[in-house]
Structure formats: C-alpha cells, structure tokens
Subunit: 113 residues, 2 copies
C-alpha cells in the first residue's frame, strides 16, 4: 500500500443559500471531518488513515457525502452520529457500513435497493 491504507474524503463544498442542490457544508460536514480526525488520532491510526476535506463530490443530493478509497465506497446522509460506526466497522474491521452506503448503483455498484 502507498501512503494511506484508507483515505476518507468528506465533501465540504459550500453553495449559496437557497441553491436547489444544497451543499454538504450546510449539513455539518466540517464538524463530521473533525470528528473523524479526532477519533483516528485517538485510536492511533492518524498516520495511515486520513480524513480529508474534499470539494464538491457531485453527490449533493446525498449529502453529507463521504467516499473512502481505495475501495471507493460511497456513503450518504452521513451525520456526526454515524462517524463512530464507520470508524469501527469500515476503518478498523474493513467492513463497509451497508446502511449508510448510497443506494444507487451508479455510486456503489453492489448497492442493494
């Protein structure tokens, strides 16, 4: 593996108030990323897993959107309360959190409806 075992990108895009697609920044995405960073540090994984800010991931209607590489798992409607489950299941145990995966085959090809 190269630099990171897992690379978590949290959309922090901002759009003007009232924009029809909305934006992740209005849904506490910055705070969500901060919690990821804090927890990764606490469990000793901050050197191998990075919680990164991202510009628009073009999944606005699913926001807050998070994509984790290298496996490219797309999570939608992520809230602060979901971070710990993603950390424990996906980051620690390498098991994607199915309930949070975007249910659209264009995002997650194996998404069950």
């Amino acid at each position: 593996m190269n630099r990171f075992n897992k690379h978590i990108f949290v959309c922090e895009n901002t759009r003007p108030e009232g924009h029809p697609r909305g934006c992740c920044a209005d849904k506490e995405s910055e705070k969500i990323r901060e919690i990821f960073k804090k927890r990764l540090k606490e469990i000793g994984k901050s050197s191998t897993v990075r919680a990164n800010a991202a510009g628009c991931l073009d999944a606005c209607e699913h926001g807050v959107t998070v994509v984790i590489y290298p496996e490219q798992v797309w999570y939608g409607k992520v809230t602060k309360d979901d971070v710990e489950e993603i950390i424990q299941k996906h980051i620690v145990n390498n098991q994607p959190v199915k309930r949070l995966m975007i249910k659209d085959k264009n995002f997650n090809k194996d998404a069950s409806k």
Copy 2:
C-alpha cells in the same frame, strides 16, 4: 467499478503567506484542476473521471500534489504543463507518469530513487 473509474484529487489548500510548509494553492493548483476538468470534458471522460478539489493532502513539500485513486498514485511538483501527460498516459492509457511520481516510498511504495 463504482462511480468513477479514476478520481483525481488536486490539493487546493491555502496557508497564510510565509508559512514554512507553503501551500499548493500558491502554485496554481486551482488552475491545474481547471485544466484537468476542461480536458476530461473534451475527451469525453467527464462522467467517469473526476478532477476534484481536495483540502490539504499533507504532502505540502511536494506541491502541487495530486493523488489519483483507486490506484493511489501520488504526483508531486505538478504544473499546468504536466496535465496533458497525466491525462494521456495515466487516465487514457492507465500508465502512471513515472517522472512525476513522488520519489518517496512513503507515498509510492515502488518509487525508484
């Protein structure tokens, strides 16, 4: 493959003037991403390959830093003039551009010195 065949993240982090690590935004990273976007559109790949803004990728000393997933290839010192080579070799032909890969095994494990 899920949403994107390739997902290009270009660091657009900004730091205050004079910061010892510098920042990618000062080295035209936003313009570099714009060129990626324009060229991807022109070659008909904008629906399967995304050139995304990223916050700090923690590779400031190598900036402008670009990382391409899912293969996690790290490019450093990327300039506007390098975009076309990355597009043609890496994106179109799936061959990383060795001369631009960060020569540090912590970033690209197979990096030749």
